[in-house]
Point group: C2
Chain length 439, copies 2
């Protein structure tokens, strides 16, 4: 090939893009049923929007450049700062504000399974309330989206709280907490000896490393895990307070979704602005990278406008969802549309076909032709290989009688339908075909 | 504000993005009814993809940069080369190939009314057949999309053919035809004296300038215009041949769409790869820049893979469509969804509300709450200001009786509904509310 696409980028052909688009349609529908409304924002922002806020690692992975006007800009490496910029630019929005968007996101990382340099991200945020109920709502939204795409019980909800981790790290005298989070965030990507070595630098001594290692290795249903941690840290009031919040959040999630969330102290999320609840959803069979992640970030608004606005949200990339849906047979490349094929054998027949096509499409039937002017035999072959349910055939004879010949491709039966009764013919035929397709 | 969005870029809040998304949903639906399937491609491509093919002006307007791997890349300034790259990478696609996509497109131009630096573009292409019927199909697709969005009869279809212009320019001895096209393309953006001065350089003498000026100034319904041109150039066989093609295309468009297309020789399109039919749709009242534009580009595939593949397509930006839909009152910020509000007065009530919410959402009803834990009076005020049709209220009393109290916000009537009969209650209430909303 003379021109290649860039490394780490994807060409999405219909067999991939049609099911992907259906997934996003479904996500939008569920989000709207929760009262979330769609927004969109530029794909390019000033690089300043991410400095200090998102964390060094992310800023190092941006597609950034200087534009023709001399501005230092970057393709969006994540959605949250843009959403926050939009939120804090408007003072008139009644709270709670519930927004979602489906931007593209770019990261200059090494491409690997489940990771590309450009992906779509379904992103939802809830601004205003700061409560376990708010955290549970955003998690329920994510969970309902996956349920509605056929992934019910295929994933685990893994929960944690940055405040719990802060208090635990503080109780063992870790000074550089952000650094500790960034090491814990990479726990599943590095081997345990590498983790031990990196963490020793922030933990001070080996005992502390082992203590943290034990905590982040153990995961289980939230109730049991919470009791265990309570037992270990029963003298630390700060920890008990967060545990109560976590317990309430976990219970509300169960009520809302029917899932029992897991408590997993290795879930801390890579971005530096999270302040409370953090969560990831992962394949129940542990095969893929996480499906989605998010959390509470109550201090970010202050950074933008000087006023605090509680916030919780999540981002779900399209890559792992696709792998999951494929794994569980939910990635269907075609849907049950009724398809028709137009076959014309003369100029006057072509005119009839155009009118017929308009009526078919308005009735929700896909109508195509090969536009080739080839013989009727060849056109009928195309009709057959296209998977059409009906062929509409018109030539001079049909033009004279102002009619069209309809062939049912499954039964082979042919009927002549006068154009003036085409509507009612199509109406009854749709009913018949829908029944046939669904059985 | 501490952080500003970049100049020429847009923040799309729900009042803009929700109707925009509905427009794209409608466009997708119509495209699928024509048998077109959705694709997507990277937002970044190697700059080489546009050099020599798209024209100098466009390449000068790109957001281009060198990536971290030293590649010279650019944000997509148009969709066609990427689509062509995808087409020519696959040898197994049965023709005709019918594709559409909704990429974002970037141009570093001076922002002005109807022009921004980043926009969405609905883009459709038909590969394989080279015939007036194929050209008419792609134009009918564009026209049906606009019709279905409430713009029927609000726009004109303006048609031309590059071959006609080639032959006309040749007949008056214009040597640099691409240069002539680029001047003609800017005809409506510059004043007539500027046009005369620029065109003199390619036309050789003032008589030729006036001849061309007369031709591109006159526009009218295709039939009449075609006859007139035929009359003026009756000795030039090349011109007569194109005129026959144009006539057939115009007739098919009429059959297909019910619109009489205009012939407008000032429509040549800015991109250099067009080879035949070119077209633009414009506001019938002449207020805005063109709504969409496209044409036939049969030689581009050869540039990619050495093999010719006939192609015709169009691109429709979201900006002028939005202006049009706003002008004609078709840009509706909200749709007729049934909305409900959940009001809980205790912990046990909150649990009931969550279960009720799930049932409501699954029935297609929007269900929200303010998650505030405020007094029932304040929650009911929020319910009212949110525009909810129904409020579902639960506290300890409802928890004991395993029921929920439903208030019809329009009539003020309240009912207690046992949770086990919630489904049937919602079903009958939906019917009642749909009727009320639609009348």
């Amino acid at each position: 090939m003379k021109y290649e696409r860039l490394r780490g980028f994807r060409d999405l052909y219909p067999e991939d893009m049609e099911p992907k688009d259906r997934f996003f349609e479904q996500a939008k529908k569920v989000a709207r049923s929760f009262g979330y409304a769609m927004i969109d924002y530029p794909s390019i922002e000033s690089i300043e929007l991410y400095l200090d806020k998102s964390g060094e690692e992310l800023v190092g992975q941006t597609f950034s450049f200087t534009d023709k006007g001399g501005r230092n800009v970057t393709l969006l490496p994540e959605a949250t700062p843009s959403v926050m910029r939009m939120l804090t630019s408007r003072k008139d929005l009644p709270r709670p504000v519930r927004w979602f968007g489906i931007p593209k996101i770019w990261r200059y990382e090494e491409p690997q399974s489940g990771r590309v340099r450009e992906h779509f991200q379904f992103n939802a945020d809830l601004f205003g309330p700061n409560s376990p109920a708010a955290d549970a709502e955003i998690i329920a939204l994510a969970s309902d989206i996956l349920d509605s795409c056929g992934l019910r019980n295929r994933f685990h909800i893994r929960l944690n709280n940055r405040k719990l981790m802060d208090a635990i790290l503080e109780s063992i005298n870790v000074k550089d907490v952000p650094k500790a989070f960034s090491i814990i965030d990479r726990f599943h990507k590095i081997d345990v000896e590498e983790f031990r070595a990196s963490f020793l630098a922030v933990a001070g001594n080996k005992d502390n490393v082992e203590k943290v290692l034990e905590l982040i290795r153990e995961k289980g249903e939230a109730d049991a895990m919470l009791e265990k941690i309570e037992e270990s840290f029963k003298d630390v009031e700060k920890i008990n307070e967060v545990l109560r919040n976590l317990k309430q959040t976990a219970n509300l999630i169960s009520d809302y979704t029917g899932y029992t969330p897991y408590l997993d102290l290795s879930v801390v999320r890579g971005l530096s602005y999270y302040t409370g609840t953090v969560f990831e959803f992962s394949d129940a069979e542990g095969q893929f990278r996480s499906i989605l992640g998010g959390g509470r970030y109550d201090n970010l608004a202050e950074n933008f406008s000087g006023t605090e606005i509680p916030a919780v949200g999540f981002g779900m990339g399209d890559v792992v969802v696709e792998l999951m849906m494929k794994k569980y047979g939910k990635w269907e490349t075609s849907v049950d549309a009724i398809k028709s094929y137009l076959v014309s054998t003369s100029q006057s027949g072509a005119e009839i076909c155009m009118k017929v096509a308009k009526t078919l499409r308005e009735s929700g039937i896909v109508a195509t032709s090969d536009l080739s002017g080839r013989s009727i035999t060849n056109q009928m072959k195309s009709a057959s290989s296209s998977g059409a349910h009906l062929a509409f055939i018109a030539g001079d004879r049909e033009s004279e009688s102002n009619s069209v010949t309809v062939k049912d491709m499954a039964t082979g039966s042919q009927t002549s339908v006068p154009l003036e009764s085409l509507d009612s013919y199509i109406f009854s035929k749709i009913g018949e075909l829908r029944q046939r397709i669904s059985t």
